[in-house]
Each structure stands twice: as structure tokens, then as C-alpha cells.
Point group: C2
Chain length 355, copies 2
């Protein structure tokens, strides 16, 4: 694994070895969760990587389900699973004691454990010793690889798209996933490049960009989307926002290191202020496009904005349609909600590929 090594594009909609690959297929663990909001990771996996998920495993108290077949770890192993993913978050970010027996069962059944929680799996000594004795792995996707180089700004071969945003948590990951899927459906050679924990589980590899030491931010982004065939696309999951008081550094490093040919600006209809920081107004969509292009041109002078992805999940369809048409006309760019698909999304996809 070396950021400077050219690779050839042979995969479709599959990650390559920019970062260690997770062992799959997966069994999704839902714990004792009764709140669907806590199971976003599991839902994301069943929606976007359903072919990698053999089933789900819940404690008796759970009321949430992904709709996948319920299985014990032993049944999942027999069905081909090679790891169990903690598909739920809990408020403290640590594994509650009530989940431990299930995790021990999984290790004993031959499954590795994969977690995106704050607290490393191996911080539980009993689990670490058991995994060691069984030869199983405890994998924390929040932990970046150790060999990330400093960025160089060297122009890489292949094409790159990066989703950027007016704020955090408004659809940059889903937009990238939907675009990568649409590219692949058109027969293009394409990789979704994950930069956050859920994305990494979906892709089966990636780099948690916000966990990288700051000096290596751009280098991590360069490593994530290595040289590829000229007609290959990397569709890169954006993080944060250049306008976010806490995370603009991450967004800048990712923007520079990704050296995108195309950016897609993601926004949530009606959001006025930075999530959790009410004193900070969101930038306008135009302002966000302009600043992202300005910084991105430093590394790739030919970068362009392919259009706007607007999260309209809280709007009724006619209202969403009117808003998307109005924004598209106003900005003179395609505007679509990838979750709604349709002709607007098709136009956004065509615009990305038109360069």
C-alpha cells in the first residue's frame, strides 16, 4: 500500500487497497436498540452494501430491525459471514456490558468484530484476550492506517469527484454513494472512496479522515484515491464544511488532497444555521461553491462544480420538486435530491460526466 504506486482499475463499485480491507461478509449487530436513530450504521449498510450483509443479530430487548434475516453468530458464519459489525451507536460511545456476551459469541463463532465506536474494542481486556487466543481481529474503523505520507500535490491519473457541503450531516455520504452507484450502472469504472466510519463499513475500506493527524490530512486524501486509469472515477465522500468553525481544516485538507475534477455541493433545504452552532449562519449555496472551487483550483485549475445535491427529506414531493427546479434555474446548474432519483438526478449525473 503506497500512495505513489499506480494501480490499474479493474474493479467496479468495489474499493481497492488504498487502505486495509474489512473482512466480509458481515453480520449486523443491533444490540438492544429501540431507537432507530441509533441504528443509522446498520441501516446504511443494509441500504448500500446489502450484498455484503448476510443477516442481523439482536438482543431480545431490541425493537429495531433492518429487515435482514435474524441469525446467531454461528448461523451467520455458516452462511459465509466473516465479521460482525456493531451497527448501532449508543450515547456514550462505549460498548455496554449487556452487549458483551453477544460479542463473545461472535468471536467464538469465528467472526472478527468491527466497530466505529469511540472507545476501541481492544480497551476491553477480556475481549482482547479472547480475540488473541482465538486468532480473531478487533477492528476499529475510526483508526487510520499508520503509514500515511505527507501530501505532495502531485497530479494523479484518473478522474475524481468530491462531495462538499454548506454544513456537516446533510447528505455528503449518501450523495457520493448514489453518484457512485449511478456511475457504475452506466458501466463506468468507479470506486466509492470512504472518509468516515459508516462509509468505510459500506465500502469495506477507506480512511477516517477526521482521525488523521493534521500534518497528514492531504496525504491521507491522496492515499485514498491513488493513480488510476484515465477513465476511472473515484467518488469521494466529503467531510465537514469550509464554513464550519470546528471542521474547516479537515474539509480543506480533504479538498486539496482529493484534487477533484468535479465537486458536488450538498445542502439541506431550509437549514439556516450550522448544526449545533446557532450563532453561525450557513453560507449561501453560491458562496459555498465559489470558495470550494477557489481552494480546489490551487491543486487542479480545471475543477468545476457539477451541480447541487439538496436534501429534501422533510418536504412533500411537489414542494421538493418546485424547490429543486427553482434552485436549478437560479444557479444555472443541475439540482437534485439523490434520494428521490428521477430525471433531475439523471441530469446531475450527466453533468458530472460531461467534462
Amino acid at each position: 500500500m503506497d500512495a505513489g504506486t499506480a494501480t490499474t482499475a479493474q474493479s467496479r463499485w468495489r474499493p481497492r487497497d488504498a487502505a486495509p480491507t474489512l473482512p466480509g461478509p458481515y453480520l449486523l449487530f443491533l444490540g438492544d436498540t429501540t431507537e432507530p436513530g441509533f441504528a443509522k450504521t446498520a441501516f446504511g449498510l443494509s441500504d448500500w452494501a446489502g450484498d455484503k450483509c448476510v443477516g442481523e443479530y439482536c438482543l431480545p430487548e431490541a425493537t429495531v430491525s433492518t429487515g435482514l434475516k435474524a441469525m446467531t453468530p454461528a448461523e451467520a458464519y455458516a452462511a459465509g459471514a466473516r465479521s460482525m459489525i456493531i451497527g448501532v451507536a449508543n450515547p456514550g460511545g462505549i460498548v455496554p456490558a449487556s452487549w458483551l456476551p453477544a460479542m463473545v459469541d461472535a468471536l467464538n463463532a469465528g467472526l472478527d468484530l468491527i466497530s466505529g465506536m469511540h472507545s476501541p474494542l481492544a480497551s476491553n481486556l477480556k475481549m482482547r484476550h479472547l480475540a488473541d487466543s482465538l486468532g480473531r481481529s478487533l477492528i476499529d474503523v475510526r483508526c487510520p492506517p499508520a503509514n500515511i505520507p505527507v501530501g505532495t500535490g502531485r497530479k494523479r491519473t484518473g478522474k475524481r469527484l468530491l462531495t462538499v457541503g454548506t454544513d456537516c450531516a446533510l447528505g455528503k455520504k449518501y450523495t457520493a454513494l448514489a453518484l457512485a452507484r449511478a456511475f457504475a450502472e452506466r458501466g463506468l469504472d468507479c470506486d466509492f472512496r470512504a472518509t468516515g466510519q459508516t462509509g468505510i463499513m459500506i465500502a469495506g475500506s477507506g480512511i477516517p479522515i477526521d482521525a488523521v493527524v493534521a500534518d497528514f490530512l492531504a496525504g491521507a486524501a491522496e492515499m485514498l484515491s491513488p493513480d488510476a486509469d484515465e477513465d476511472h472515477w473515484d467518488v469521494i465522500e466529503g467531510q465537514g464544511s469550509l464554513f464550519h468553525p470546528a471542521y474547516a481544516g479537515v474539509s480543506t485538507g480533504l479538498l486539496h488532497g482529493s484534487q477533484p475534477d468535479v465537486i458536488i455541493l450538498c445542502h439541506q433545504a431550509g437549514r439556516q444555521n450550522i448544526l449545533g452552532l446557532d450563532q453561525y449562519a450557513l453560507p449561501s449555496v453560491e458562496e459555498a461553491i465559489e470558495l470550494n472551487l477557489k481552494l480546489a483550483r490551487r491543486i487542479n485549475p480545471a475543477v468545476r462544480c457539477g451541480g447541487v445535491s439538496i436534501n429534501t427529506s422533510h418536504l412533500a414531493e411537489p414542494e421538493a420538486d418546485r424547490l429543486l427546479d427553482r434552485e436549478s434555474a437560479r444557479l444555472n446548474l443541475p439540482a437534485a435530491d439523490p434520494m428521490r432519483g428521477g430525471s433531475r438526478f439523471a441530469a446531475l449525473v450527466e453533468s458530472c460526466l460531461a467534462g
Copy 2:
């Protein structure tokens, strides 16, 4: 130590407890160095923190000297020293075996060891065990504190100045040190806030911003310059450049988190390209000022550029003077080389304070 805790300004030209304070005064260790370029840390310390340095300690092979009195560790301890700083770099970034006996002597004499080298001091097991048994500390200033919060963008009290640059390694640290010293000489309440290893040794505290995990970049900068009296100045050492393909993320996070009232743009006369990345032209001084102000306004709409610091160390004095006058007239801003001082630097200082 809490970024949200208001502190009152009682110090002059002394760091407060934004980060752990280094034990001083110092004995400067120069190893067996014969190349002055490798002893920049020692020279920086004797130039800018001479009152914290009791002497220097060299191996017999060394030909470099700071001019401080030569002492053994035992003599330095008797003279008040409480730590020995590794004041030299070596190409590999690791402690060579030939230095170990001197470092063992220092620990035995009662001194802690302070290092800015890549390899942690404690990675040498013999040294770690000896330090443990003697109750001495092995301090790596590249290691950021563990309790850095995520940034909030909350407006803090007091005044802040940040040095920014067209590139790395052209005088941001020295400009900040010179401005902080000049502020203090004018009787202002002022702290130099260090963000790199040499700066941290000079200040006796600080945060190595490029070693912070990316998610906490702005939070680290917020922690570094906490609330202060309204007439107190923090003069913050800049890092990297918004135009640097590898380090723009660090610079963005530091710019946002520092929420400066004043920026000083640092440049080296005649430098055409990014150091080590010849394919990247430096931005113009105007372009660098404009982009820094644009990003800084997101957090502090009242930010202004106080002037330009130009490193003219390779020019003869008449040539440097002509260049500084020409740049000042062209930009309609004070332009000075802090290392040359004089009326131009005084005008730069006045401009910073004029807001």
C-alpha cells in the same frame, strides 16, 4: 486546564496554562554537532528565551556553540537548571547512540529531558526505565495534550494576532516572537502562543498544532489562546500556508480557531515556488492576504491585515530597504523585516495596535 475557562491576564511575555508548562530553566544540549543548521532550536532558544537558559552542554566533537556558558549537567543543576533540552536535530530524527551517555548524565544530575525529535524519548527503554526510577520526566514537545476539545467558534475575550504565510519556513515564528517582544516592550500585556516545537520550547508551553488529530484542529487553537482581559494580546505563531498542498488544512484550522483580530502576512523576498514543491508557484502577497482574511472573517468579521513581514535575510541592507519601501507603497500597508527592526518594524507594530 479548560478552553472554556476565563483566565485573567497577569503575565507579561510569559505563557499561561493553555498547555502543560515545560520545566525550566534549561541546559541546552548540542550533541556532537558541527553543522550550525542542525542547531536551530538551540539558537532560537538562546536568542528568544536567553533568560531561561543557564548554559550549554556539548560533546567533545561539537564545533557549534550558542555562546552560552559550557556546563556539565551537574553544574547546570547547581546553577538552577531543571531540564536539558535537545537543541539539535539530526537527519534521521532519532537520538544517536553517541548522545545517550550525556542524556543519562542529565537524568542522574536531576534534570528532566525535553525533545522535539520525531522518535519519542521513551522509545529508548533504558532511558525510560532510568527516568522512571529517578522520578524524572521525558518530555516530547511534538506530543499534543490529551484533552483537546472540538472547536466551538465561541467569541473569546482579549485580542489576538496570528502570523500567516505565503509558504512554510519563511519567518512566521520569528515574526510572532518579534511582535510579542515589541508589544511587551511597549508595556502591553501579551503572550506569545507557540504552535511548533521550537516555539513551544521558547514559550515554555504551547500546542504542536500539526500533531493534533484533524477533528480537533480548531479546538486546539481555541485552547491555545483562551479568554483574557480585553486589552491582553495573544500573538500566535502561524503554521503552514493556505496555499500549501500538504498543510493548508492545518493553516485553516489554526486560522479559524485563533479567531484573530489582526493577521500579519509573512513572505520571503524572492521566493517563487513552494519550498520542496517546485511545480507550485507561491501566491502573490495580495492574494494571500485576501484569502486569509476571507476565511478568518467567517469567525471574526472585524479581522484586518496589520501589514507584511518580509524575510530579507539574503539581501544587503540597501536592497532590503528599497524592497520593503516598494512593497509598503504598492500594498498600502506597513512592510518590515522584524530581524532588521528599525522604523519600518515600529510602524508595523503600531499598525497592529491601531485597531
